[in-house]
Point group: C2
Chain length 196, copies 2
DNA sequence: TATTTTTTATTGACGGATCAATCAACAAAA
DNA sequence: TTTTGTTGATTGATCCGTCAATAAAAAATA
């Protein structure tokens, strides 16, 4: 009994199913049938709406990035100082929505896949550049350009590193600890400069 | 014309081939035929010596870890102060042998696979714990225990994060920059403490 | 020493399983 | 009657793992 206007609902359901499937298995090695089953439809329908599997995966990554970007914008809107902006960027990456096992596993899996897929690599590069510029926009208000650049690079690396460690359930366990670790780094970096 | 004593040579060749295959493809999605072909043998022989594919992958990871461990021991042997020990641990992770595209891609791929394979996860956990304790053994001579622990955690996360970024050919380009970034972090952390 | 037998090295071919992608067909709304 | 939604069945490709067969070295035996 086909109701009209199913397309956006199915697309969304399939993307959600993709994230949860990848999150559970911990890799992109999930079958179209598995994903479709989770979304409550046949694998043929998944192909109908997304074409090849690659495009479903790409759409999923796009969705994750879009959510992160939206969260970021929202968080940045309610800040006033440069220092606050830096903390906001860090905090968003470890918010309840982002720092979940499923999402992290998906991130990691996509990172690996990006070495194969040029399209995915381009997507991740856009994100990386945006993260960097977001961090920089806060840091340049406090540090000289060259040092701000290095601190932004280190912060981004710390975020990625803590994501990996989370995925392996080793080391840093929760988001609070992760944030504290990065804030500690930023504080020593920033307070030191302001004291000079 | 079968020469005797081939086993260790074939095993080594197959492991090397596995690393280069994974490194080139950027994921563990390499076929036994591909690996065997690179090693100059048939896929049947690879199965003959390693059994299932999982075990070849596991042996490969073990080999990479063993090399890293050996490098680490060698580097630590020629240090005398606690501070030098910390720098040595960092440097080894970015040495010419370790910080190569192939090895890094393999690392990343294994990280992801570890979410599926318990055996692989155990292996990586051993490495993570050893890295932590190596860092700690240097840091506890300079910082109070709790802070040393946090700095070790952050340093490990930085190493992982810089590895990821290297794999994506984004951000930090070379080993020297990566080391400088971590050393800069350590220096601010350590000099600040010693000044108090 | 000459021979048989065992061990080691190696592969081509194949079975069987998995899975992406297609397609014809059906059902209901417009 | 056209459009939209949906699926079961099927095809074709890929790939792991096995097995029987071959070849040569080493060991055992006559």
């Amino acid at each position: 009994m086909p109701k009209l206007g199913m397309e956006p609902l199915r697309r969304r359901a399939l993307i959600d199913a993709t994230i949860s499937a990848i999150g559970e298995r911990g890799s992109l090695d999930v079958t179209m049938s598995e994903i479709a089953g989770r979304a409550g439809v046949s694998s043929a329908l998944a192909h109908h709406y997304f074409g090849a599997k690659d495009e479903l995966l790409l759409a999923t990554m796009r969705h994750i990035l879009a959510e992160l970007t939206a969260d970021m914008r929202r968080a940045l809107r309610s800040t006033s100082t440069a220092r606050e902006r830096v903390s906001a960027v860090v905090a968003v990456n470890f918010s309840d929505i982002q720092f979940q096992p499923e999402t992290i596993a998906a991130w990691l899996a996509f990172y690996v896949e990006a070495q194969k897929s040029a399209a995915l690599r381009r997507l991740l590069k856009v994100y990386a550049r945006r993260l960097h510029s977001n961090l920089l926009s806060g840091l340049t208000g406090i540090l000289p350009r060259s040092e701000a650049d290095r601190v932004a690079e280190a912060t981004a690396a710390l975020i990625d590193g803590l994501y990996i460690r989370r995925a392996l359930k080793d080391g840093v366990p929760n988001a609070t600890t992760a944030i504290a670790l990065i804030e500690d780094y930023l504080e020593t970096k920033l307070s030191r400069r302001s004291a000079q």
